[in-house]
Symmetry: C2
Subunit: 295 residues, 2 copies
């Protein structure tokens, strides 16, 4: 049994390294960003480096697509003609359920008799590696679970229509990334009047269980580290809501706020992750020199 | 020393009742909605009922304006010519800091030598009554504190420009009411796919301290009870952010979401407060029969 990764970024390589330590052999990877650094990372995790997508797909029984939400569908279209009969094609990208269902249809349409698994990764991969909680649905979900849980992967299978686990993940995203955008927006205003600490203290007095100060530090650190990706995921979440008939009023505003902060971040020279209030002050100096993307 | 309430709604009457129990005598109230129910409530709290705004204002040393954000400024304009020299005019409404500063200017301009106190009420009044945490600024803040804290009122005085406590309160509002709107929007989508419990469970797994299920119940209960007022306050918060140079991207979306839910609530015949998931289902049936206010 061979497992192939399409895309070998931070998340895929963390999962591969974990699976390798857990005793899984026969892994392979392809990444269109074919850099020596990626190849070294693969080698370190005992993963064979493959030079083309067809070559990878033809040689494995379980395909884990870990690219980005934006290219998940075209990658599936490119891979489908080469998928082995009976193989599992698992899409682990943060796509909307609509996109997940389209990927499922692409695989059905290719006539390869592959089993599609819509997989939703429910937490940040790096600290958890292959043990990151996942929720899966679709015809490939149970075979995927049966094959990989002996190596410590935690795949919960959900019954329901294909894509239901993506709905779950997107609704979760709306809350977590929405909260990040809310913290940004509220504390930008607070910091401009020098009352950030008082705002957090006042919230702690009302809802002590939340531990607002810690939460703000955590979310605004992730905002700096993964801002661009998180903004894109929030756009996907907005599409998901629209597909479900819920107008993404707050979600769209939050996506714009995250896009804006990612843009400011990309314009700063530093890669250092700043403490919450310093990041707010850096953003405030951007506010005074440029307008955020308005609705 | 006499204390006068302009406006005698739920919050004002709860504070008056608490102060009366704490031994404060000589309270009076005026409310333009001059109903027998309000008068009875005043009588029960030992508060003298006064039939006109000038009459009230002329007869007291401390004025607590507890009307609504929308009429706080016109009420101050109507009251200013009658305020006693040296009296404290405390505005306790949830106005933007800009409006608070305008009220301060109205009092200055009236030449009555009254002291303006910008007061921000930091929690829901009813459970706390007169002991609800307040933050105050402006020239009347310390006299107000000195006069009323012996009766158990908790007024924290903030240094800084007039209106700074309103900035604090509005930034807090953006987070709490934004979270209410986020929960609504995310869980509407979740409930439509029947995954509400899974979304909350998944969030609890990542951020157990927040206790998401309880928080959702709390916020969605308040959404039903005070939706309209909360939507208006979120509009004020959006104005506050704009005044501080921060585009209210998320805040504006949240205000629209809260307005929409308040509208749906006003169209239902029930006054019963529903559990979270029942309220979501009631909102979903409204989604399918009407469009929410788009951006």
């Amino acid at each position: 049994m061979r497992v192939g990764f399409i895309g070998f970024g931070e998340a895929a390589s963390a999962i591969a390294a974990g699976l390798s330590e857990a005793g899984l052999r026969g892994m392979a990877a392809f990444d269109s960003a074919d850099s020596p650094a990626l190849q070294e990372r693969a080698q370190a995790a005992g993963v064979e480096w493959v030079n083309s997508l067809p070559e990878l797909v033809q040689s494995v029984d379980i395909i884990l697509s870990m690219v980005t939400a934006a290219v998940a569908l075209p990658v599936a279209q490119a891979a489908a003609p080469y998928v082995r009969s009976g193989a599992v094609y698992a899409d682990l990208n943060s796509c909307s359920p609509q996109t997940k269902r389209e990927i499922g249809k692409v695989l059905e349409g290719a006539g390869c008799e592959a089993l599609f698994a819509c997989v939703s990764v429910m937490a940040a991969v790096p600290p958890w590696r292959h043990r990151v909680p996942m929720v899966a649905d679709g015809p490939g979900a149970r075979p995927l679970q049966a094959t990989l849980s002996p190596y410590g992967m935690r795949i919960e299978v959900m019954d329901g229509p294909v894509g239901v686990s993506a709905v779950l993940k997107m609704c979760r995203s709306v809350l977590v990334k929405g909260l990040e955008a809310l913290f940004l927006e509220s504390l930008l205003a607070a910091e401009s009047a020098d009352v950030t600490d008082q705002v957090l203290k006042s919230l702690d007095a009302s809802f002590p269980q939340v531990r607002w100060g810690e939460f703000a530090e955590y979310l605004l650190r992730r905002n700096q580290e993964h801002g661009k990706r998180r903004a894109q995921e929030m756009k996907e979440a907005a599409l998901t809501l629209q597909g479900l008939g819920v107008e993404p009023l707050v979600t769209e505003g939050a996506a714009q706020r995250l896009e804006w902060s990612a843009k400011v971040r990309s314009q700063t020279s530093t890669t250092k992750v700043l403490p919450c209030r310093e990041w707010l002050r850096a953003l405030l100096s951007a506010v005074s020199s440029q307008e955020p993307t308005g609705p």
